[in-house]
């Protein structure tokens, strides 16, 4: 089969979208991280089911719990940002809509992350 790619394109290995396997790789990386992290999160929620405010704060402000929760949030939110990009690119057909939704997607994930991480930091350091 004739290959029309230039030698430079072949060496770069970035494909037609010029992004290479970056999206795929980061999605898999966060997916693998999400397995233990979200199992931890489920365990924490099970443990804190029906817990009082004092018990919840005590658990969430423990350094290891806070650290693990921040990891859950970073990995989870990054993974879902990548996944939502896929959904948007599949279903949004006009360029304008695509841009708008991709931008909203970034803002949403960043916003949720900031709210959640700030709350965790306040619980840990805010007294």
């Amino acid at each position: 089969m004739t290959d029309f790619r230039t030698p430079l394109a072949k060496v770069r290995g970035m494909g037609s979208a010029k992004e290479g396997t970056g999206h795929f790789w980061r999605q898999r990386l966060t997916a693998i991280a999400n397995v233990p992290l979200l199992l931890f999160f489920i365990g924490l929620i099970v443990y804190l089911n029906g817990a009082s405010h004092a018990e919840t704060v005590a658990a969430l402000s423990h350094p290891l719990v806070a650290l693990a929760m921040i990891a859950v949030l970073i990995s989870g939110l990054y993974h879902m940002r990548l996944g939502m990009d896929d959904i948007i690119l599949d279903y949004a057909h006009s360029e304008g809509m695509k841009f708008a939704l991709v931008i909203l997607n970034n803002f949403f994930c960043l916003g949720v992350g900031l709210m959640a991480v700030y709350s965790l930091l306040k619980l840990s350091f805010g007294g």
């Binding site: 999400n34 099970v46 029906g50 009082s52 879902m80 949720v112 959640a116 619980l123």
Partner: protein, 133 residues
Amino acid sequence: MSADAKGTRPLSPHLQIYKPIPTMVASITHRITGAALYFGTLLVAWWLIAAASGPAYFDYVQGIFGSWIGRLVLFGYTWALVQHMLGGLKHLMWDTGRGMEKEQTTKMAKFIFVLAPVLTLLIWFAGYAARGV
């Protein structure tokens, strides 16, 4: 000519025409649960904000989560997480080139649809057993 190329080309059959099969239901379920988990992170953020805001607001939010509709949503959210995680593990296995035979993919799709609700129930039993609420 160009109008014909745009307007009257035959379309391939799509979702409404194909008979649903396990693998395709599993595929769209993976996407839908992913999207549900996406918007559900607002609940996680809300819970953390409530914890950081003090006892009064925390109890108010706990009350909403603990209502029957709150529990229903959280149960669905737990299922979405388990279903999406099992589907994701299947994808990671596929990434290594294993388990891609037609019979295997169908079997795994069916198996996950059974396993996810079972694990979800177990998680909720554990939650209630932990406190007896």
